[in-house]
């Protein structure tokens, strides 16, 4: 060995690579701590607490915030999800169809409804549809309208998810089913779709979380007292009491549902990863 004392790289003056790395990490920590301190010093905590954390106003929201507002939020979300799932399934199958116009139609639907803000869909359902078809009533009143608006938006996303799930099922499964005498439709229903849903359960649950938040757009439809969901409920109370505590409580109620759901999604994803191994 002749080259043992020849350094691999020309030795520069200054820091080694390891020292550089720890210096860079140190700077990041310092910035973080400085930002937290600046925020804590600069914020007016008394006024914040006054505006957002009034215990008696928060107490006065119960039990209605749960029994009415959260219940309605869940109800809107679930009905929108069901509509979206059914519609999304139809669109996904159209997208995979061998009939050209079906594929084309499904593609157009997906592009349009993925490209529009959910808010516009709500306004369209709430305002444009009654104007265009006077006398027609969307069944289910507000609940029906919300289910339809949320469902229309969700269907576009779910259709793509479902399509990907169906395509992720190995080709041999359809071949095995067909060679056992299943018709294409029966094979799809009994063999392919159940497997596809296992694959897409995590992204579908994510979609549920998104819908849960989008249900707040109901407030643009004009709802009765009994139909209020978390956001509307919180906002109404906030203007009544001239205090923002209800907004904070409503926000916590959202997190009460979305954080556990997110946890469930991560668990499912981890499990799916394991199943692949």
């Amino acid at each position: 060995m002749t080259g043992t004392d020849v350094p691999l790289q020309p030795k520069k003056k200054g820091l080694t690579r390891r020292q550089k790395r720890s210096l860079s990490r140190g700077i990041q920590y310092a910035v973080f701590v400085a930002a937290v301190i600046a925020f804590a010093v600069a914020a007016d905590w008394d006024r914040l607490a006054n505006q957002f954390a009034q215990g008696d106003i928060a107490r006065q929201m119960f039990p209605d915030v749960i029994t009415l507002a959260l219940k309605n939020t869940v109800l809107y979300t679930v009905s929108g999800f069901v509509v979206g799932l059914v519609l999304g399934m139809v669109i996904a199958l159209m997208r995979l169809s061998s009939v050209g116009p079906y594929r084309w139609l499904a593609g157009v639907y997906i592009e349009i409804f993925r490209g529009l803000p959910a808010l516009l869909i709500f306004i369209f359902i709430g305002v444009a549809v009654p104007l265009a078809f006077p006398g027609t009533e969307i069944p289910g009143g507000t609940y029906g309208k919300v289910a339809l608006a949320l469902g229309l938006v969700a269907a576009a996303y779910m259709a793509e998810t479902i399509r990907a799930g169906i395509q992720a099922v190995p080709k041999g499964q359809m071949e095995a089913a067909r060679s056992l005498g299943f018709s294409p439709a029966r094979a799809m229903i009994s063999i392919i779709i159940p497997q596809a849903f296992r694959i897409i359960l995590p992204p579908l649950t994510n979609e549920l979380v998104l819908l849960f938040k989008d249900s707040s757009l109901v407030l643009f439809l004009g709802v009765t007292l009994e139909e209020r969901e978390l956001s509307k409920f919180g906002r109404d109370l906030a203007s009544q009491t001239a205090n923002s505590t209800p907004i904070l409580v409503a926000g916590l109620c959202y997190l009460l549902v979305t954080i556990p759901l997110g946890f469930v999604v991560r668990r499912m994803e981890a499990k799916a990863q394991e199943a692949v191994k």
Binding site: A176, R178, S179, L180, I191, A275
Partner: protein, 266 residues
């Protein structure tokens, strides 16, 4: 090959006439004529890319033939008006990759097709499933999921699943090629049992010992045509064609074949 009508008595269970199959510009089958009689066991051998799997898949129309006719049990599959699902019920298919339904238990793999396709009730389907699991020696795995079984066990369940439909014909597409060597024997034993029971079988395989001992006929394919068709002793024991000899020598002793190949090259 020339007779175009069904002769009663010596009934042809599978009858392939003038079959061509192309994938785009690639012609995989270039005119296949093959008749398999009731109760006959025919092994199809040949190098990869010879079209043997495509031929098998044409027999239950998993591949659509480009030209020619396929009859199974007297019904023409290539007739556009035929109820293909009804014909397929009479044809069992076993795949190289097993293709069990992973979301169902072993028993459900056997009962679901019976119930959905044949319309059997739950009890009847369960009874047939139990009988067929016993035939392949896997009764104790009835409630297991496919992922927990070995490859050999999965393949035996796949055979039982096909048998539960009561087929007249069984097609095997390289049933042991995806298996670890020590698991091959169990699957071949089940196939041997079926052959002894008089099942009509068409088997694409590389298992020469099985072909020699179990097959009534061996068909050697190369380049999309049938090169040789005869008894195992004729085709494997004493091949007439150079291509068959070459294939067999490579299969039986890959190392020797390489030397031969270099010898024959200029």
């Amino acid at each position: 090959m020339t007779e175009k009508t069904q002769t009663p008595g010596a009934r042809a269970e599978i009858d392939v006439r003038g079959l061509h199959k192309s994938f785009g510009a690639n012609e995989v089958l270039r005119g296949i004529d093959l008749e398999i009689k009731q109760g006959e066991v025919v092994c199809v051998i040949g190098p990869s890319g010879s079209g043997k799997s495509t031929l098998l898949r044409c027999v239950n129309l998993l591949e659509e033939p480009s030209k020619g006719q396929v009859f199974v049990g007297g019904a023409e599959l290539t007739d556009p008006d035929v109820d293909i699902d009804a014909v397929r019920r009479r044809i069992g298919m076993v795949f190289q990759q097993f293709n069990l339904f992973p979301h169902l238990t072993v028993t459900e793999n056997l009962t679901l097709p019976q119930r959905r396709v044949l319309g059997r009730d739950k009890a009847a389907a369960a009874k047939v499933a139990a009988e067929n699991l016993e035939r392949v020696g896997l009764s104790e795995k009835a409630s297991a999921y496919p992922a927990s079984l070995s490859g050999g066990q999965q393949q035996r369940v796949a055979i039982a699943r096909a048998l539960a439909m009561g087929p007249d014909v069984m097609l095997f597409d390289e049933p042991t090629s995806a298996l670890d060597p020590e698991l091959v024997g169990d699957v071949l034993a089940v196939m041997r049992m079926l052959a002894n029971e008089g099942m009509t079988m068409m088997v694409v395989t590389h298992e020469m010992t099985f072909a020699r001992e179990v097959a009534d006929r061996v068909v050697f394919m190369d380049g999309g045509v049938i090169v040789e068709d005869g008894t195992p002793d004729q085709v494997i024991g004493n091949p007439r064609h150079e291509r068959t000899r070459h294939f067999l020598s490579r299969l039986l002793d890959p190392a020797m074949a390489e030397v031969e190949e270099e010898d024959s090259a200029p």
